[in-house]
Structure formats: C-alpha cells, structure tokens
C-alpha cells in the first residue's frame, strides 16, 4: 500500500477546487434555494407548531423560546449536511462513475492534492450555505449581528471536519448505496444528539458523554455562542476538538483514498 506523502501537497490543489467551482456554477441557482428556504421551514414548524407544547428552554442560564434556541443549530447542521454530502455522494460519483480522479492523476497533480481539494471544496460549499442562512436569520432576529458573521469562517472549519470524515467513508465504502450506513449510524444520531433540539445539560451525564464525541456538538455550541452570545461549554475546547478531528480524519481520508486509487 502506498503511504500518504504530505510533501506531495502543494498549492496546485487550487486548480481542482476551481474545477469543482466551475462545475457547480452551472447548478448553483438551484442549490442556493435549499439553504435559503430551509431555516424558514424549521422556524415555521417549530415556532408555530412546537412552541405551544414546549414553551421555553433554559440554556446557559437564559430563558429562550424554543425557536431562538434551535435556530443557531440549524446553521451548524446545514454546514454538516453540505460538506458531508459533498465528499460522500458527490466525490464518489466523481471517483467511481466519472473517473475524474483517474483523469487528474495523469497530470502533474498528486492524489493527496486531489483529496485535499475535495475536502476544501466541501468546506467552501458549507461556508456558502451558512452565509445564505445568516442572510435570513440575522434580519429576522435569530442571530446577533455582527458576531454571527463569525459563523462563516467557523462553517469552513466545520466543513473541513465533516468533509474529512465523509472522504474517509468514500475511501472504504464498496458501493454508493452503502452510504446509508454511515448516514444512519453516524450522521442521524449526531444530528439528533448534539444539542441541536435539546440542551445536553438536560440529559443524564452518561448520555451527554456521547454527545461530546460528535463534532457537530462542538460546532453547535460555537455557533450558538456566536448567534446568541451564550454557551454551555468552553469555546477553546470546542475549537481544539474540531481541529484534532480534522487532522485525524483528514489524514485517514487521504490514506484510504490513496489505497483505493493508487494500485
């Protein structure tokens, strides 16, 4: 098996990023509708339908309406979905059905640069989606201006994390249908148990430990801090966890993709 060679990563990866951007530009108008409308749907559903049942949520010493509690988590989950889908389904199609990576490997770019470009592109898409969501959430008062703008670079960081683990799954999954497995066993529980729909402080301690493992939990905490100015964890710890997660799964993603493509 060929080992990952970090010295083979140069700025040449930006050309692959540009290729993805040019391809995406043809369909961006359709793609932008989702992050534009998604927060609206959730806020309508939870604000109109749910808040009558729940009343308020106490979080970090504050009494919040349910929608105010949940809105920042929507930003974080949008970041997750966008980047994870990009390096799983989309990258798999490029790799397996379109032979795009094989074509690139006949040029002076390395496999390491291709994978880095895919992950950075996924993070870019996540950042774009979050920017659009903020354009909706800030005017209607669910995210503080201007602090919430820091969610944009944060989304890039989160995108790197979910893009990396997505790449890892792409490197080991035999067929495209089997992405159901990581989505059902990893993404769905993470989506539900990362302090997105209820505060972690309200559940038993043994259960909240699981949440700490999920990168989404750390991203939700940071996003909430930037949007409403309050959080229940330490931002340095959250950032550190996300960085470590990116390094570990970024490297693993490179390793499994290289094993898959260089034979």
């Amino acid at each position: 098996m060929s080992r990952v060679n970090l010295r083979d990563i140069s700025l040449r990866f930006r050309h692959i990023w540009v290729r993805n951007l040019v391809t995406y530009r043809r369909i961006w108008k359709v793609n932008f509708i989702v992050p534009l409308l998604e927060p609206g749907f959730y806020i309508l559903a939870f604000g109109l339908g749910f808040s009558g049942l729940i009343g308020g949520v106490s979080y970090a010493g504050l009494q919040l309406t349910y929608t105010a509690f949940m809105a920042p988590a929507l930003v974080a989950t949008a970041c997750m979905w966008n980047s994870f889908f990009e390096t799983t389904y989309t990258s798999f199609v490029r790799m397996y059905y379109q032979n795009t990576f094989s074509g690139m490997l006949a040029t002076p770019v390395s496999i390491e640069e291709i994978i880095v470009a895919e992950i950075v592109w996924a993070a870019t898409k996540a950042m774009a989606a979050v920017t659009i969501m903020l354009a909706v959430l800030i005017p209607i008062g669910f995210a503080n201006y201007p602090a919430a703008l820091f969610c944009i670079p944060l989304a890039f960081l989160g995108g790197l994390a979910f893009g990396s683990i997505g790449m890892f799954f792409t490197g080991i999954i035999p067929t495209i249908d089997m992405f159901n497995l990581p989505i059902f066993l990893f993404i769905t529980p993470m989506f539900l148990f990362s302090g997105t729909f209820f505060p972690i402080s309200g559940i038993p301690e043994w259960a909240s430990i699981f949440s700490l493992v999920f990168p989404l939990y750390h991203l939700v905490e940071l996003t909430r801090f930037l949007c409403i100015g309050a959080m229940e964890s330490n931002p340095i710890f959250n950032l550190g966890y996300l960085l470590a997660f990116i390094l570990v799964f970024g490297y693993l993603g490179l390793a499994v993709m290289k094993r898959r493509l260089i034979q």
């Binding site: 391809t23 795009t100 006949a106 002076p108």
Partner: protein, 302 residues
C-alpha cells in the same frame, strides 16, 4: 538515451503477478505498441509509465528520470489518454480543455490558443460549446485525445484509444494519430486490434501472462513468426495433409481449416492452387493477427 527505459518491471496484485520482469525501451520519435490479450498486463505496464501504479520491482525511467521520485516533472511532459472516458460530463468541450490545462499550470493565453488549435485539428471546433454528455463516442474520444495533447507533451500514452468506436470514428482517430506520428511525437499505445498496431506503429511488443514474448517491427515479426504469404484452406483433403506432413510445411491445423505459411508467389503457392484447392482457398498476405494467434494461442481466454 531512450524516452522510456523499463527494466525488470514487476507488478503484483496480491498473489497475482500482472507484470513479470518486463524490459523495454522506447526511443524518441518512435510509435511503440504493446499488444496482448485482455488481462495480459498491458494496462498495468502503461500505468507504471505515468506513476499511477507503484512498482513492485525493477526500474521505470522516463525522460531519464525515475518515476518514483520525479513523477511530477515526468507527468508535466506527458499526455495520457486512458481507456475509460475521464472527461468531465458536466462541462463543455472547451471547458474540458481549459480546466485540464490548469493542472499543468499552463499560461492562460497559451492554453486558449492551444485549445483552439486542437479543436481544429480534431475537427471539434463546431462542438466547442457542446456538453460532453451530449457527445457521441467518437467525438468524446477525439476530445480526450485533444485534452491529452494540451500541454504539448513529449510523450503520448494511449490505452486502447479506439475501443468501442465505429469504423468511421476509428479511422478518424487513426488519421490524427498518423499525422502526429509524422510530426515525430513519441507515442506508446496499447491495443488488441492488430490492424491498429500494424498501420500505426514502427515497433511493437507482444505481451502475454505479464511477459514480453516477442518484440520487433511489424514486418519482421510477420516474417519471423508467420509468413509473408498465407493460404487458408477450408475443409482440407487427406492428400493435402499428407503432403504437408511429408514436406514439413509450416502450418496450423485447426481441423476444419488449415493455415499454411508460405513464400509469396512461391512454388508451394502454385502447387496448392493447382492441386489441393478442393473446397475453398484464400490467398492473402501474412499479418500481425497470424503472429499474435501463433504466439498467444487460439483458445478462448478467461
């Protein structure tokens, strides 16, 4: 110094040895073909030239550099047209060329001029803004060839360039490749179409079970392993079989059909024409297919 110098190449996939101590050299300006049945090790060998497949043994030098160390320099002077379609289906014809040129860090103005040149050369100019998804197989293949030539490579590598094309498209590709050969572009081609190898290449190697079993110019190989002239006889009679045995004539007996390797316009030819052509006889020139089948056998593979 050869453009490609391969020494004792070995490629293993688990227990299976795909390439088994292969040596070959390609000189500047040569059109070299690797011929072999499916699974013989052609594609594995060619993938080692551009460093997408690490060697399990031996050395691969391209332009005098080692592929393991200097892969980036080597690949920047290479044009590769892979067997599978690796074009970007969502992009237009011209976008495919221009985005590809970025990976080589080509100057933008030069890339634009170069793409126009190649669109003309491959008769694709009218399709400039067509989506690749809408191109026919022949057009897509020409575009893939054009893309391989974008960075003005010194070595062109073609893996089964006309596989799955209709006769018209094949000939169009051959015309272009012959024009490139005339310009002196060094080319390595894999194929299992004998006519393709015969009409395009100066020199070829026949590879089977991961080993090179014959190498040389097409005409020399035909002379050595088959014959300049070949006679095929359907339903041969006993007396012909006896004659062949008694006179130790070079032949292949396929039961229903006898293939005799002869001198052109020689005595044997006229003898057979006069005495033994009971059912049907066919007189033709020997070709690479004869060489290939004699060397690799006639039984079905896989």
């Amino acid at each position: 110094m050869g453009i490609i110098e391969a020494q004792q190449l070995v490629k293993q996939f688990g227990q299976f040895t795909a390439v088994d101590e292969v040596d070959f050299t390609v000189e500047r300006g040569e059109f070299f073909a690797l011929l072999g049945p499916n699974g013989a090790g052609k594609t594995s060998t060619i993938r080692m030239i551009y460093g997408i497949s690490p060697l399990n043994g031996g050395r691969m030098n391209v332009f005098g550099m080692d592929i393991g160390n200097d892969w980036r320099k080597i690949r920047s002077q290479l044009g590769v047209c892979q067997q599978e379609n690796t074009l970007d289906p969502d992009l237009t014809v011209v976008q495919n060329l221009l985005l590809y040129s970025r990976y080589f860090e080509m100057d933008k103005d030069f890339a634009r001029r170069r793409s126009e040149e190649l669109l003309d050369f491959f008769a694709l100019a009218g399709k400039r803004n067509a989506k690749v998804m809408q191109l026919s197989g022949g057009l897509a293949r020409r575009l893939q060839l054009a893309r391989a030539l974008m960075a003005e490579p010194e070595l062109l590598i073609l893996d089964e360039p006309t596989i799955g094309l209709d006769p018209q498209s094949r000939h169009q590709v051959w015309d272009r490749l012959l024009a490139l050969r005339k310009r002196g572009l060094t080319t390595v081609l894999t194929t299992h179409y004998m006519d393709e190898a015969e009409s395009l290449c100066n020199r070829l190697a026949i590879i089977d079970h991961g080993k090179i079993i014959a190498e040389g110019r097409p005409s020399d190989l035909i002379e050595e392993y088959a014959a300049e002239s070949v006679i095929e006889i359907e339903e041969p009679g006993e007396n012909l079989r006896n004659y062949i045995r008694d006179h130790a004539v070079r032949h292949d007996d396929l039961g229903e059909r006898l293939i005799i390797y002869a001198e052109p316009r020689g005595e044997l030819e006229s003898l057979i024409r006069d005495k033994f052509c009971v059912e049907s006889c066919r007189f033709r020139a020997g070709n690479l297919e004869d060489v290939f089948l004699r060397l690799t056998g006639r039984e079905l593979r896989e």
